[in-house]
């Protein structure tokens, strides 16, 4: 088997068994990049020379028996909102167009410690604000299955890179669905872990109470292996949680017999396209055949998640993005009369339209006179949404539904109407509000060959259960495959 036909775990095994090497695996990835990157634009920054040096260093450590982990030698791509020491980190924004961090994000560091080889930084919506990777200041990314369509967002470059074989594993971040939705659009496995499971140290913050880093992978086993390396307590992130159930791979084969799975009736109503509904329900049947009990139920409050989310996320964004002021790093506007004008001009020229829209909305809902009516109201609704999930998990082990209401839209069609675009987050967003884990697994294609994703949502810290169910489904489904040739 050639490296490109392997999953990350298979590749790691082949490297350990000396059937291939880390530099060879890297070359295989480079050759996919050479063939596809011009059309797809998955990356903002590619560091071929650095990656080759890292691959050679990793190979030496593997040969010396110092690196023995399942992912040692496997090429890795990282979303461009995760800091990488010495490597440009732009957040797909003009305002960070020249920013080279002095330190590496903890999540990236942990994967590098496991022997993964960083090759570059993937495209995304500017500051992770968007659902299509079209708000990037560095141009859009194409969907590998049909480059006229978007890859989803905001981790669109990461999802497309995995789907196109331009890497084996990619890191993304998920504030309202930004891992699961592009995973669904690109036909890869994407997981948002429970809030607090992966250190956010070195992640350029968008909505701090919602942001969580997670993997995009070729299959569920890869996802479990990467998660095992990622999840750890970190004192550098005050919201980091101590967990001792991180042997995610061990539980994979245990099956779903006896598992109780609920499908929210309010997810399967109008607004959900038929091309998505059908494969998701077929996937549910597969899990039923494997011994799970599957039944519909009423989750409730679904339509209130989007307005609550956009209030809270915009509020946190307006506060988090105050640090971009042209003083310590990044872009600074020229010819300014005084400090205050420099701040305003820098930010106005440095931020794109969608980012400014959310900063303004956030500034408004936090401003005196509106704070109670908007921000606190949204936090109260968030408490109700969390309670609705608690109630659901009293009866069910997990919730099954779509990851997004449609398959990937055509490029150039989404940004004109922001609210319409926000509505596409309906199945992913409440998971972030409640801090829950969620995983998207490919479960079919629409008439144009674009992938459809099934989403499984679990109670806090139930990643093992989710991975078990996802693995049981995936084993029955058979390989989904990566995209050989870009259409």
């Amino acid at each position: 088997m050639k490296p490109m036909d392997m999953t990350a775990v298979e590749l790691g095994t082949a490297i350990r068994e000396k059937k291939t090497t880390a530099p060879e695996a890297l070359q295989a990835v480079f050759s996919e990049i050479d063939r596809k990157e011009e059309r797809l634009h998955c990356y903002i920054t590619l560091d071929r020379e650095g990656a080759l040096r890292r691959a050679e260093a990793v190979q030496k450590k593997i040969d010396a028996g110092e690196l023995t982990g399942p992912l040692a030698g496997v090429p890795l791509a990282v979303k461009d909102n995760l800091c990488t020491a010495g490597m440009l980190t732009t957040c797909a924004s003009r305002i960070l167009g020249n920013f080279v961090p002095t330190y590496t994000a903890e999540a990236v560091k942990r994967l590098e410690e496991g022997g993964m080889v960083l090759i570059g930084k993937t495209n995304m919506d500017e500051f992770a604000m968007g659902s299509t990777t079209e708000t990037s200041a560095y141009g859009p990314t194409g969907n590998p299955w049909n480059a006229a369509h978007v890859p989803g967002g905001s981790s669109g470059g990461s999802a497309a890179a995995v789907a196109a074989g331009e890497c084996f594993v990619a890191l993304g971040s998920d504030t309202g669905g930004s891992i699961r939705q592009p995973a669904s659009f690109c036909g890869v496995v994407g997981m948002k872990p429970t809030y607090g499971s992966v250190s956010r140290y070195g992640l350029i913050a968008y909505g701090s109470s919602l942001d969580q880093i997670g993997p995009l992978c070729r299959d569920v086993r890869d996802c479990a292996a990467v998660l095992e390396q990622l999840v750890a307590h970190d004192t550098k992130d005050a919201t980091s949680v101590k967990r001792n159930d991180t042997d995610f791979t061990s539980a994979l084969g245990e099956g779903v017999a006896g598992m109780r799975i609920g499908i929210p009736r309010d997810y399967m109503t109008e607004g959900l396209s038929e091309a998505v509904r059908e494969p998701v329900l077929v996937a549910a049947e597969v899990l039923r055949d494997k011994g799970a009990s599957v039944e519909p139920f009423d989750l409730g409050l679904v339509e209130y998640a989007i307005p609550a989310y956009y209030t809270i996320a915009a509020a946190e964004a307006s506060s988090n993005l105050e640090r971009f002021d042209g003083v310590k790093y990044g872009y600074r506007a020229q010819d300014c009369e005084g400090l205050h004008e420099m701040y305003k001009k820098t930010r106005s020229e440095g931020f794109g339209e969608e980012v400014k829209r959310r900063i303004m909305l956030g500034s408004f809902v936090l401003s005196s006179g509106y704070y109670d009516a908007y921000y606190l109201k949204a936090l109260r609704v968030k408490a109700l949404i969390k309670a609705a999930f608690d109630k659901a998990f009293a009866s069910y082990d997990m919730i099954l539904g779509p990851a997004a209401p449609t398959t990937a839209p055509l490029r150039g069609k989404s940004l004109q109407d922001p609210i319409q675009m926000y509505l596409g987050d309906i199945y992913t967003i409440s998971v972030n509000l409640a801090g829950l884990p969620g995983i998207s697994v490919p479960c079919g294609r629409d008439g144009n060959g674009l992938p459809v994703g099934m989403q499984l949502i679990g109670d806090s810290f139930s990643e093992k259960k989710l991975l078990r169910a996802a693995y049981a489904y995936e084993s029955a489904r058979g390989a989904f495959g990566i995209c050989g040739e870009v259409k």
Binding site: Y310, K344, L361, L376, K386, I419
Partner: protein, 98 residues
């Protein structure tokens, strides 16, 4: 209608809070966008949240304390290298009073 709450003065005020300089066209667009978004967010008022505590954080964690100790090394030069303006180991900015 929330749109009515977004007057020219409101947009000016938000521009100050958000530290953004907007052109007249951008201000008009912002007024429209924000009005529409607030109309949509007003949907939350359909829910009775009387007596519901605002939930700022889902995490069960209480305050997390640590010793106030410096653990990273001296990165002064590296950090300053990212600055748009630097002089004698300090950040430079345009004059504060014009």
């Amino acid at each position: 209608m929330a749109a009515n709450r977004i007057t020219d003065e409101t947009i000016e005020y938000i521009g100050i809070l958000a530290k953004l300089a907007l052109s007249d066209a951008e201000k008009e667009q912002a007024k429209k966008d924000m009005g529409r978004m607030l109309d949509y967010i007003d949907k939350l008022n359909e829910l009775d949240t009387e007596g519901v505590e605002p939930m700022s954080h889902v995490s069960a964690l209480e305050n997390v304390f640590r010793e106030d100790m410096v653990t990273n090394g001296d990165m002064r030069e590296a950090l300053l290298a990212n600055a748009p303006g630097e002089k004698d180991g300090m950040y430079t900015v345009p004059r504060t009073f014009v």
